[in-house]
Symmetry: C2
Subunit: 993 residues, 2 copies
């Protein structure tokens, strides 16, 4: 594009301009770095001590939620005064004063005031009079603004409506005030013409509580419905509206929304709209091209704010946690380089798009200004944007130099504003940030002004290649519904699968499919008229035949090389991954599992295969015991015998696959007794086992009645172990039967048994309520509460119920219920008519003392149970004891955190639990005292992932095994220790001195 | 002693003499290094390839036992032709020819001939005419001899008698022949006077099959009884007798024996006796002083052969395996330096002791000769000894130089001679040996002649210091009965303990000792008249009281820091170690356990404590799962609840301690239900638990009837788990009861259950029969067969029974039976009258088809059952199925190894087993197919050590737990996974790119 000379010349121009500005900025320290403020001291320290920074930010995050001096003092103590923390004397004594003694209330007030004043540097107060005043005052410095309303995450339609209303109010208030404002050319006139005096940035995600890329169309439609009135209002009052761009998950929705809006007849000729390009996105180039095309098509220019992007941590973590392709550059230099490329393109096309360069990086800005100048563009053909409260010297110099500088000014309360504050503090203290480097680290300005180096991206780690043992286990990626192709493939898979109904499910013995006289029919819970499958039910004679084959084929299978069995499992994983869409689609029909949940189930099955193959190599193979010369002791594990796998319908593929693959890879032969409700999925799994190469004689497929076939197998002398997941009643009966050793039995029967749960979520009085609400909703209503891990008890500490319950009920009110095949479904049907009747009965006629706080409406057809919220007063209430397995939540208040824990620990189950708290002390107490198999802190209690959250409980929830965790395979295996005396005739090969 | 100048002068003299000899030796390669022999090629290769050396030596070791060409060919294939072995083309093609094809018989004959001829370089043939001829011929080279009879390990009195007879025959044959030999001054005259022409070296250990340092007096007495007739005969025929010195375990016995003999009136004035000093012994200095004193006291000189020592590998391994102080220098230079110091002392005292310097090391020899010369001693005041077949050039040069050179000439058959051959080959190929360095490595002679460097000994690794996790686990040392002080302390402990009888054993609940109305009396099985203890039997009311305390104290104990519980366990280990003698002594009385077995039991208890403390730190503490930014997943384990420990009497301390300490360290409270027969030992253990600091409320001590107290506890809702070791019947009943979940039960009961065994030892047709016999005797008769691991089936492959059975019966014939308190006891009484009657009945009236091959006599008083050997013909015979728990062995022949394995795998138990074989293929087959929890190759099937042979079986032997192994603790614990979402407000502390 440009030759080397041009580039060199450009860089020296940038250097010249940058150094000029830098000189002018000297003596104008940005206020946060101003030594007047004692916070500057802390900020200094933050940059020196990473662990202090973490705790300080966490403290800042929780502070607005703290209601009393005592609470503030204890959080200061827990976060900032840990005994092993090295703090400067000044800071420690200030904090110690705050945290203790008589002066506590005074000192904590001081702390709150200090943090508030720090926050106020970045956030305008939420009082329209004062906000208007603050925004107005910017003009005195020759600065203009765009105003944004800080919003807490909206979790219900009511909240989104309220947020919309705030914007409407702001438009009214500001446009009214602006009527009296003088027109200042540098601020209110661009090359393209006059500019509105009022400019507002809208946070799109807050306008819909159920925004979801999987439900792209629905999300865009709902947003558009809320946004159009606002835009019409803006146009009417001559207000500029900018669509802010947030996380990657909102990206496509926001762009599509903007496109629909910009082309809407009411707005197609209105230039005062804007959107954002984030240069940290790997696809920002596409974004730019798309917007240029849109502008041409539209015929009216609009504004684009070019930013680097503010959610880098989140995007990287989120992508990693889900196994998505990382949407952002992981190399900082690439983001900066991309920024400059996009700057070029935008300036070339300044007639289609009015560019706004938002950055505090002097190099990026100087590059834009020099480039514009070289292209002969006037200064008012672009604008510079900076954040309120940051980089004050720069903004002054640029304004003085004749540029239009717009300040992004958030308006709001401290509580929802803290996330914003933390992002700003992060930016100020980030190692690679311009502000830190220039002011704190004292990096030379000439270095800061050199062109960005686009270094290499982090390599994509392919950890799960077959046999890989030298790196941590990585879960298979979930489907990334951000991708249009993924959404449409899923929809197609639903159609394809439906066309095959009704499926025929045979009994399969020794690889031979058998029809039996007795058949059952399976209808879809989404629509009881849809026949999904017809299943042949095995007889005991068939079970006996299967047992004989399983016993006969066992020794050879046990003695296969471990590597061979592990390789079969990895082949199975690949097949499941390849067929993941069809496998998930069938779940949506047969068991009513919504898109994401169905995909999660398939992904878990794939993970189980790869994890167990890997663990088999690590755990089963021989390990040397002791290190004694003259002897070699090798401990290894091998299969125990025919194993019956009795699987549930709620994770129809994952749990079946987990138990079966564990039993097989350790060298056992398996008899699968699937749940009748999910027999078609189980048969799909069985067929893939065969495809993967498992010999037909090592797996038998026996759909049938639990009471008949299940019992026959469990009690049989030829069975060596039982893997069961299901109800407590059945589980305990199996354990009792397995305990009886019958004549001719080879092995004492082992039982791997996962049973129910009555899982509690505790919301502490300092919890992040956005996170808590999201966690409770997901844990309670995910797959209609039909998970053993589901939340069914909610324990609210102290006064938090006052804030939390209304939001919870509002969220339930707007929870989208739909058939599981619908991507917008957030609450699908329950499994069958029996469950539907049982749960309906419970809601209609709950035990005495249970107060129904909320009950939703029910769509038809399908076995839908609406969300139901009960409240009880007594800790021992039956609603807190019995497992319901449906979308029913019972809440109870606890006077303090310890009382909450005591309630949580009551009852016979001990499976999962969650705590939302920001008190380090309470989190520690929960770690020690909340006695469940899987405890989650600051997230919901469902969704354990293979290899990351080994899953399983104790009490009456299970025997204490951990599916998807280390040691799980050993439940299916026998240890053998083989000792060789290696000394012969006094000669020892391994003797080393 | 000597100043630097003297030393320098000495060294230059040594250098001069050494180099002179070296020059003379050039061209006189010792025959093994002579290129004429194709073995030289292999020897060369041995030195280049350590793994080939191992296999080649193993092949040489087994070769004489191979009866057919097929057997030889298959061993060549398995040992020498492994496909991944890199061999020189020449050797590979020779071996391939030998191993395969039609020419096989010819080639294998060639191999046998070659190895035989190699052996014949070191061993004179076992034909008295030919042996005499060979020895006679040495005189032609001016060499004389000492003749030794190679003996297989003697395992019965009959064998020792036969060995003695061989010596008597040799004395007669040689002395008769010598009558015609001319007297050669250089050979037959020393400074002290004329020397016998016949000189014989006696291998002392072969003269008694039960030689044991623990039974020092008995061993010396028995040896003396056999040796005195031989010595009288020797004196009569003018034959010199040298006492050879073998392993360290024979050292004190040999020295005491020599002293008694040398001072015996019949021999006190006879100078032609000799003994050995091994300079590799750290105590060789003491040996030297002691012999000088003896000579003074005696008034007649004798000869001392100064050697380096030939059992270095064995001594090091044996000491390490038992945790003894290593008796030999581990630094080779120290051995050489010590040799020179002792040389000095011996030469100074040449009038008391006639020195013989046995070495092939030119430096050591030159040092001796120069030192003697400097002291003005004539050449015939000393002699040089070398081994037959080695270092021929040296011996010629020295003889030529006028020294008396005596050749140590072993006479014998190839079979027993192979161990000797391997030792010689080792010596020739050892990295640090003079022969290899000088001939193969070409190290400069000047280097070889420099003074030995006494480098540092290997540091004693104190691995079991409390909390040590950074090194492998090390078992506590066994008592080293080589030490006189240990023997006498043990005897004292027996007396001390006996003085406290009868012991009073209370019930102890919450730390309070309680008497109950019901008492039982325990008499010693050694002597039914000796009342050892009176035990209070707990009532169910007491058990309930104990349960209430155990349940109440559980949560606090579970939530103690792991480190605290581990520290208690380590304190307990220290207390047990401190009191080990008393604890072992009580076992000798209460349960009739012999010295070494009782010590082993206490040592195992100590090991359990330390191992479990260590494993608790490694296995229970939190481990991070996954490595995902934004979340922290920690998996840890914690206690499950009150645990009843039902312990057996046969390992009255070890198993009780193992189960109890595992349950406690994982955070469970424990109710101990000891075996009634060993209640006093159990109470001793309980008291030490309290001393170690375990709170009284976490351990309850409940002696009582199994049917009453045991059942009450097992079925109780307050019990969370049961640890049981005992019979199959009781074990299965416990498992069945535990399977029934009773109302109010908190946890599903887990059962850790070790039951019986019917363990088989297979002796292959190429087995090392010395090792096999030792292994079978120990495994069968150790603690009178009252171990679940004991051998009770012996399976003999092919024709091996012809050689093996007569030796086995002879060994049984002479097996010493005695009270367990007697150090000479090899077979003690069984546990009580009931067992005595049951076993007696079995022997009197065995199932049809069982042929009694041997039955010993029975001493009185005490519940003694003599060794009994049965033979059966059918694999399914009841004698091969039922567990007897006594000193009864049933043998059966198998036509081949596979048939033997099939027999071994029959039956319901799968605990231990052993294979004696030298066929790599059969050993591999056994590894794969011999399905037992603990398989031993080339050693007996008892004596599993904590941390080295994790112990436990499957089938009806147990559930597949491994006491003393990794993962055992997890049987007593629940996993909990605690997941924290570490991302707050989009900020993640642990995100690193």
């Amino acid at each position: 594009m440009a030759d080397t000379n041009d580039i060199d010349q450009l860089n020296s121009q940038i250097m010249e301009l940058g150094e000029k500005y830098w000189q002018q900025m000297q003596g104008e320290m940005p206020s946060l770095f101003d030594r007047q403020y004692w916070q500057a001291q802390i900020l200094d320290w933050l940059m020196n001590d990473e662990s202090f920074k973490v705790d300080a930010f966490r403290f800042v995050d929780v502070l607005p939620a703290l209601q009393s001096s005592t609470a503030i003092a204890s959080h200061v103590r827990d976060y900032l005064l840990a005994s092993d923390r090295k703090l400067p004397v000044l800071i420690r004594s200030a904090l110690t004063m705050a945290a203790g003694g008589i002066s506590s209330p005074v000192a904590t007030r001081a702390i709150r005031a200090n943090v508030s004043s720090m926050a106020r540097r970045f956030i305008c107060e939420n009082d329209s009079t004062r906000a208007v005043k603050v925004l107005r005052e910017l003009a005195a410095e020759n600065l203009t603004f765009t105003a944004d309303i800080l919003g807490e995450a909206t979790t219900s339609d009511a909240e989104s409506d309220r947020y919309l209303q705030k914007y409407l109010d702001l438009i009214r208030a500001l446009s009214q005030a602006a009527e009296t404002w003088p027109t200042i050319p540098i601020l209110h006139h661009a090359a393209s013409g006059p500019l509105p005096k009022v400019n507002i940035s809208v946070k799109i995600s807050a306008l819909d509580p159920w925004l979801d890329p999987a439900d792209h169309q629905g999300s865009v439609a709902r947003l558009k419905a809320r946004l159009m009135p606002l835009l019409r209002q803006a146009r009417k009052h001559q207000v500029f509206i900018n669509f802010d761009l947030e996380q990657w998950a909102c990206h496509d929705i926001t762009y599509d929304l903007f496109e629909q809006v910009a082309l809407h007849p009411d707005l197609i000729d209105w230039p005062h709209l804007g959107l954002v390009i984030q240069s940290y996105l790997k696809k920002s180039d596409d974004d730019c091209r798309r917007l240029l095309k849109l502008s041409k098509r539209r015929g009216t220019p609009f504004t684009v704010r070019l930013v680097k992007g503010a959610y880098w941590d989140y995007e990287v973590v989120h992508a990693r946690q889900n196994g998505f392709n990382c949407p952002v550059f992981t190399n900082k230099g690439r983001t900066d380089a991309c920024y400059e490329q996009l700057t070029d393109i935008l300036l070339v096309n300044h007639e289609l798009i009015t560019p706004a360069f938002a950055s505090h990086n002097l190099r990026s800005l100087a590059h834009a200004l020099v480039t514009a100048k070289n292209k002969g563009l006037p200064k008012d053909s672009l604008e510079v944007q900076m954040l309120y409260g940051m980089a004050e010297p720069q903004r002054r110099i640029l304004a003085r130099d004749g540029y239009r500088v717009r300040i992004y000014a958030p308006i709001g309360e401290l509580l929802p504003g803290m996330a914003y504050l933390v992002r700003r503090l992060l930016e100020n203290t980030s190692n690679s940030g311009f502000l830190r480097q220039s002011y704190h680290e004292g990096v030379a300005i000439s270095t800061m002004l050199t062109p960005p180096l686009a270094g290499p991206e982090l390599a994509d780690k392919r950890r799960n290649r077959p046999g890989a043992q030298d790196c941590p286990f990585t879960n298979v990626s979930l489907l990334d519904f951000n991708e249009q192709s993924v959404r449409s493939s899923f929809a197609t898979a639903l159609e394809t699968v439906k066309a095959t109904f009704p499926l025929q499910v045979p009994v399969v013995i020794g690889g031979k499919a058998i029809s039996s006289g007795k058949k059952t029919q399976r209808f879809s819970p989404n629509d009881p008229a849809l026949l999904v499958a017809q299943t042949n039910m095995a007889t005991t004679a068939m079970a006996q035949e299967a047992l004989d084959i399983a016993e006969k084929s066992f020794p050879a299978w046990r003695d296969q090389p471990l590597e061979k069995r592990a390789a079969f499992l990895e082949a199975l994983a690949d097949i499941l991954e390849n067929d993941r869409l069809q496998l998930a689609a069938l779940q949506a029909y047969e068991v009513g599992k919504p898109w994401r949940e169905a995909d999660g189930d398939v992904a878990e099955a794939i993970d189980f295969c790869r994890y167990y193959a890997r663990q088999a190599r690590q755990e089963l193979g021989p390990t040397r015991q002791g290190d004694m010369a003259g002897e070699e002791n090798l401990l290894h594990y091998e299969g125990r015998g025919p194993t019956v796998v009795i699987a549930p319908w709620n994770f129809p593929l994952a749990i079946l696959c987990g138990m079966t693959s564990a039993a097989l890879v350790t060298g056992n032969t398996v008899l699968i007794k699937p749940a009748t409700a999910s027999a078609a999925i189980a048969h799909d799994f069985y067929r893939r086992l065969m495809q993967a190469g498992f010999p037909p004689e090592v797996v038998q497929f026996l759909p049938g009645a639990g009471k008949e076939i299940g019992s026959y197998l469990v009690e049989h002398r030829q069975i060596s172990q039982i893997a069961f997941t299901g109800s407590k009643e059945v589980g305990l009966a199996i354990i009792e039967k397995a305990g009886r050793t019958v004549p001719g039995q080879r092995e004492i029967k082992r039982v791997v048994c996962e049973m129910g749960g009555k899982n509690a979520v505790i919301v502490d009085d300092d919890a992040d309520l956005d996170a808590a609400l999201k966690g409770v909703m997901q844990s309670t209503f995910g797959y209609a509460g039909q998970k053993c891990s589901a939340c069914s008890r909610l324990i609210l500490v102290g006064d938090i119920h006052k804030k939390f319950v209304p939001r919870l009920l509002a969220a339930c009110e707007s929870l989208p219920m739909a058939a599981a095949t619908d991507p917008g479904c957030r609450l699908g049907p329950v499994i069958d008519q029996t469950a539907h009747e049982r749960l309906g009965q419970l809601i209609t006629d709950p035990p005495a003392g249970a107060k129904l706080l909320f009950l939703g409406n029910t769509p038809t057809p399908g076995f839908f149970i609406p969300p139901a919220i009960f409240e009880v007063k007594e800790a021992g209430h039956p609603m807190l004891q019995q497992e319901f397995f449906g979308p029913i939540l019972t809440l109870i208040r606890a006077k303090n955190f310890q009382a909450a824990l005591d309630i949580a620990n009551e009852g016979e189950f001990a499976l999962t639990g969650a705590v939302f708290s920001r008190s380090p002390r309470n989190m520690d107490t929960a770690r020690n005292q909340f006695k469940v198999g899987n405890l989650y802190i600051n997230r919901g209690c469902t969704g354990a992932l293979v290899g990351r959250q080994p899953f399983g409980g104790f009490g009456m929830s299970g025997i204490g095994t951990k599916a998807g965790g280390p040691g799980y395979l050993l439940n299916f295996a026998h240890p053998r220790c083989i000792t060789e005396n290696t000394m012969r005739s006094g000669f020892t090969p391994d003797l080393q001195m």
